[in-house]
């Protein structure tokens, strides 16, 4: 019986020739990640451990991104705790305001994540780096603490679901629509404890940013990780961003999967997840009623990359945000921000009546920078539409792609670019 791509990476990092689903292993870690919410708890736990310091100061990334620039005194104290820990332990990859970005957009861009890595992060969207052919998964603060102290983590080897992608997405359909379609199909616990392996000739028709978005939301189907094969595009991305060596793992031909699905990308339509679960999906064609909205957010670790900014700007160019609607655009990193500026995208956003923010996770989790009042509705390119996620428990979040979000901002109701004038 062969191994899946994920199983091969885990076997190699556990020093084993072979692993199988369900087996408990201890794996060596290539990177341990934390942010300003989860790291303070991890730091406190690590201080209780009988260790001298971190296992490798080059293999830890600390990215204050959730409530920064500090939104209040308590957040400032958390960030201070992380900063002081980083300095005390001479952490190489600590990213201060001004050089930071939303962690899962930042780390690949900084070349810290490459194919074949095993990465844990105290943030559930750590699964993003599967786009590059790495095994990466979200954990809690205590696992992060143990990872920082020992360079190891325990895992139950996951079984996998195979998604065979074929065809090419049509205009205005992007990675977000692919993953929302899949979550709508299998449900928010459809991949519980499992790997989601995305393969097939259709992968070549997805940009790296599409793949980051898809891998990013594996957790929204309950997945342990999402992972893509390493093709020329992925190699080119890694060569551009990283000087670290990478290792390409391929699933065995006789690898066993719990389930296999074929997804024809050319048949997908702009897809929207209705409140209050990412599995409540409808295509734009299924929405016949007018769903008026109060706010649009374009950004986050899911959709704050340059492709996303370009698509949103393409829709907003020469148009204006609907009267009375707030449109908040958040480039995910300083580099994305700068590039968007150089390409004139920020000008387009501002001329269209949108506001552009410094990189932050803020509104996605109801932290700050776009909280919803009672009864308000938001179309958001973020990843969760749970009750109260972005503010009041009686507010509503509709998850969508940047194209749908930008078109909805113009229309003042859920829309798509194909429906605008």
């Amino acid at each position: 019986m062969g191994m899946t791509m994920t199983q091969k990476i885990l076997a190699a990092h556990a020093g084993l020739d072979k692993v199988e689903a369900g087996q408990l292993i201890e794996a060596n870690l290539d990177l341990v990640l934390g942010n300003d919410i989860t790291s303070p708890v991890a730091i406190k736990e690590m201080e209780k451990m009988k260790v001298d310091g971190v296992f490798d100061r080059d293999k830890i990334a600390l990215v204050p991104d959730h409530f920064v620039p500090n939104k209040d005194i308590k957040s400032a104290e958390h960030c201070k705790c992380v900063r002081e820990f980083a300095y005390r332990n001479k952490i190489t990859n600590y990213f201060e305001v001004g050089e930071m970005g939303i962690e899962h957009a930042l780390l690949p861009e900084k070349g810290l994540t490459v194919a074949g890595d095993v990465i844990i992060g105290a943030d559930s969207h750590t699964c993003t780096y599967g786009a590059l052919g790495a095994f990466s998964t979200g954990v809690g603060s205590t696992d992060m603490a143990a990872g920082m102290a020992t360079g190891k983590a325990w895992f139950k080897v996951p079984s996998a679901i195979k998604f065979n992608l074929i065809g090419k997405p049509s205009e205005w359909v992007s990675g977000k629509d692919v993953i929302l379609h899949i979550i709508g199909m299998i449900g928010v616990d459809g991949a519980l404890y499992k790997s989601m392996e995305f393969v097939g000739e259709g992968v070549a028709n997805l940009t790296m940013d599409d793949r980051f978005t898809i891998a990013n939301m594996a957790i929204e189907a309950g997945g342990k990780n999402g992972i893509f094969p390493v093709d020329e595009l992925a190699v080119a991305y890694m060569k551009e961003h990283s000087d670290r060596p990478y290792t390409v793992y391929e699933a065995d031909e006789d690898a066993v999967y719990d389930a296999e699905y074929t997804i024809d990308l050319s048949a997908l339509r702009p897809t929207i997840a209705f409140p209050h679960l990412p599995e409540n999906t409808k295509t734009i064609d299924e929405i016949r009623e007018d769903i008026r909205i109060d706010q649009v957010v374009i950004g986050s670790c899911t959709n704050g990359r340059i492709d996303d900014m370009r698509i949103a700007a393409k829709v907003l160019k020469g148009r204006h945000v609907a009267k009375g609607l707030r449109c908040i655009v958040i480039p995910a990193t300083q580099a994305v921000y700068l590039q968007a500026m150089e390409e004139g995208l920020l000008k387009t956003f501002i001329e269209a009546g949108a506001v552009v923010s410094t990189p932050t996770c803020g509104p996605c989790l109801g932290g700050y920078m776009g909280i919803l009042a009672q009864g308000e509705r938001c179309v958001s390119t973020t990843n969760r539409n749970f009750v109260g996620r972005m503010g009041h428990v009686e507010s509503e979040i509709y998850l969508a792609s940047p194209a749908v979000a930008a078109a909805s901002a113009v229309a003042g109701k859920i829309s798509c670019p194909c429906r605008l004038d």
């Binding site: 009988k50 809690g140 616990d189």
Partner: protein
């Protein structure tokens, strides 16, 4: 014998970490403070009604969403002695074990036990008893490795003891 006994608070599928502890309170990492907002967005009265030792029972995918360890921390600090569910989201599952919050997977018990029932859980045997209904269920045993972390009352103690 390690055991828990208390009154049941019952919830449905997909109780996410945002309703267990809303992110607006994550500017604190103090367990006692987090506990005061535990379950706030799904059950406003929870924190007023919960007593030390009480038990949360839910159906599928309990603890889905964010990786915030603040979720099991808040539940534990609120005095909850055990969470029983049909299934747990995987990060919550790890976190609960790592911080020493007892959890048990038992689909039948999770479906049948009702709010307000008095329930007893024997952690040595995994047997769940609904004292109110007079029914018993067998919870799933943990793999030996996880049981060692649980016996050490969390990952930090386990690592220190190694």
């Amino acid at each position: 014998m390690k055991a828990a006994k208390g009154t049941v608070f019952k919830y449905g599928d997909n109780v996410d970490t945002d309703v267990i502890i809303p992110a607006r309170y994550l500017n604190s990492s103090d367990p006692a403070e987090l506990a005061t907002h535990c379950m706030e967005d799904i059950d406003k009265d929870f924190i007023r009604r919960v007593s030390k030792g009480d038990i949360i029972v839910a159906t599928r995918n309990f603890g889905c969403g964010s990786s915030r360890e603040h979720a099991p921390i808040a539940i534990k600090a609120a005095g909850v002695s055990c969470v029983i569910a049909e299934t747990f989201a995987r990060i919550f599952y790890r976190n609960a074990i790592n911080i020493g919050l007892p959890i048990v997977e038992c689909p039948e018990a999770a479906r049948e036990i009702e709010a307000g029932d008095t329930v007893e859980v024997n952690f040595d045997t995994g047997v769940i008893t609904d004292v109110t209904k007079g029914t018993t269920y067998q919870g799933q045993a943990f793999p030996e490795f996880m049981q060692r972390i649980i016996d050490a009352e969390g990952l930090v103690n386990y690592i220190n003891g190694r």
